[in-house]
């Protein structure tokens, strides 16, 4: 498995979201220039998995991509750590509470 998500970006709109699976997984949200703003996950507490989590997204961001995985918690942490390794910081819309205590890749 690639450490970073490399799937093509999709437009973040209602049509695309309604086509999403209700499964567990991770996702990234980016601006028009494909700069990642947020890395999130749809856990087992989500009513309709990825569809619910992306449907509830109210922050800025025009694009998204996702990966279905039951290991959503560790994959989420891995994506954040991979982002930090590349950029030296976490995505702007991930609050500190989601990134506190994360490990380091080098």
């Amino acid at each position: 498995m690639a450490v970073e998500l490399t799937k093509p970006w999709l437009a973040l709109n209602q049509d695309a979201i309604s086509d999403l699976p209700g499964q567990l997984g991770v996702f990234e949200i980016a601006d028009e220039a494909e700069r990642v703003r947020y890395i999130g996950f749809a856990g087992a507490g989500s009513l309709f998995g990825l569809r619910s989590e992306l449907g509830h997204w109210s922050g800025p961001g025009r694009l998204f991509r996702f990966e279905v995985t039951t290991a959503y918690r560790t994959r989420h942490r891995e994506l954040l750590m991979a982002y930090h390794r590349r950029h030296g910081c976490y995505p702007v819309d991930n609050p500190d509470s989601e990134t506190a205590g994360l490990g380091r890749l080098s």
Binding site: G43, A44, R73, T74, R75, G101, G103, S106
Partner: protein, 390 residues
């Protein structure tokens, strides 16, 4: 061996049982089913409660501030602590604290000041770096990471895999080969700071444990001062081996706790779930599953407590610990599987804890030495010098 708990043990067990049922389980209902962490405010509140109970820092020797408890008592506590969804790998979400890396109790004074005491105060984290891509069950032969003396330093090259917590650690215990031709007598344990140039956490290794990952490490010309050798040069295998035997007792106890909880839920559900006009518990097929659960749990419980009792009395317990680990991990796996079967479709959903226990319990038959290695240890004990490796 006395098969009855002392009055003190019974009180402690009762206290921990209430803590798990009244504090942990209700809180867990609102958490992600795969998490292994509590919200910080809840963790702090519960940690304070555990301190008040006098049980904080389980496994820390009393001279370092831990509670004075026998191995049997700690096993009994571990059986209680794991009786919730996250209980197998995150018993009570860590609010009982822990001993950290037990090998550091054997460190010299400078090493204790720099690594052990900050760890016990919760200021530093460590990792245990033994397993390599070439294997983990036979560290004496599998360790290929090399350390070569260069003046006051050692230069380490190689790698480790399936290492928990290395990406968040401040230091780690890294086992490396210092004498290539000496087998188990050629391994040394080094305390390595994770900000040392040449130390790399290359990737996350995902496993069946969806709440927790392991890491893969690489060491490239990593210079470690000779002062960071733990114990003596070429005596690292004994340090690793001591941990492996002792750790099997709480490891077994954790399996038993989950099995008890799964069994308890299966008994309860079988009495309320009706099929074809009668409760499941009236069917002999279900009754026999419950009976087999009971037998698996009892066997594991007595095997584990016997190993703990021998350890408390300072007698050899390596074989008994291996038997306990084998019986508990395999028996608890069967119990969880049967409990899941009894719950039918609900058993495989994330609404119930069985699917998490099922995944995580599978790892227990491999972690801390797979079942086959436990059998090998027992065979070696039975056959003594008559057993030769092929």
């Amino acid at each position: 061996m006395n098969l009855q708990m002392t009055e003190e043990q019974a009180l402690i067990v009762q206290m921990v049982r209430r803590f798990v049922r009244e504090e942990i389980v209700p809180l867990e209902l609102s958490l992600d089913p795969d998490t292994d962490q509590l919200p910080p405010e809840d963790a702090e509140r519960l940690r304070d409660m555990v301190r008040e109970m006098g049980l904080y820092g389980l496994g820390i020797p009393p001279e370092y501030g831990g509670p004075e408890l026998s191995m049997v008592t700690m096993a009994l506590i571990a059986i209680e602590m794991s009786q919730h969804r996250a209980g197998l790998y995150a018993p009570c979400y860590g609010v009982f604290g822990g001993a950290g890396l037990a090998q550091l109790f054997e460190a010299d004074d400078r090493q204790k000041e720099k690594y052990l005491y900050p760890t016990l105060r919760g200021e530093k984290r460590g990792f245990f770096g033994l397993t390599e891509p070439s294997g983990g069950s036979d560290p004496a032969r599998a360790i290929q990471t090399r350390a070569v003396r260069d003046g006051d330093d050692w230069v380490i090259n190689g790698g480790k895999i399936f290492i928990s917590g290395a990406d968040r650690a401040d230091y780690g215990l890294v086992f490396a080969r210092t004498s290539p031709d000496k087998g188990r007598g050629g391994v040394t344990c080094f305390i390595v700071d994770t900000d040392t140039p040449g130390f790399h956490v290359r990737r996350v290794v995902h496993t069946l444990r969806s709440a927790h990952y392991a890491t893969e490490l690489q060491f490239e010309d990593m210079r470690v001062p000779h002062a960071n050798v733990l114990g003596e040069v070429n005596k690292g295998f004994a340090i690793a081996n001591d941990r492996l035997s002792r750790q099997r007792i709480p490891y077994s106890a954790g399996c038993i706790g989950v099995a008890i909880k799964a069994h308890e839920m299966a008994v309860e559900y079988s009495q309320v779930r009706e099929t074809f006009g009668a409760p499941l518990s009236s069917r002999q097929a279900i009754q026999w599953m419950l009976v087999d659960n009971e037998i698996d749990i009892q066997q594991a419980r007595w095997a584990t407590l016997e190993a703990a009792d021998l350890a408390d009395r300072g007698e050899p317990f390596r074989k008994q610990a291996a038997m306990a680990k084998l019986i508990a991990s395999e028996g608890a796996s069967r119990v969880v599987d049967r409990a899941m079967q009894i719950h039918g479709g609900y058993g495989v959903t994330k609404d119930f804890p069985f699917e998490r226990w099922y995944r995580e319990m599978r790892i227990r038959r491999i972690g801390e030495g797979p079942s086959e290695v436990q059998r090998h240890i027992i065979a070696r004990d039975i056959l003594g010098s008559g057993l030769r490796n092929p």
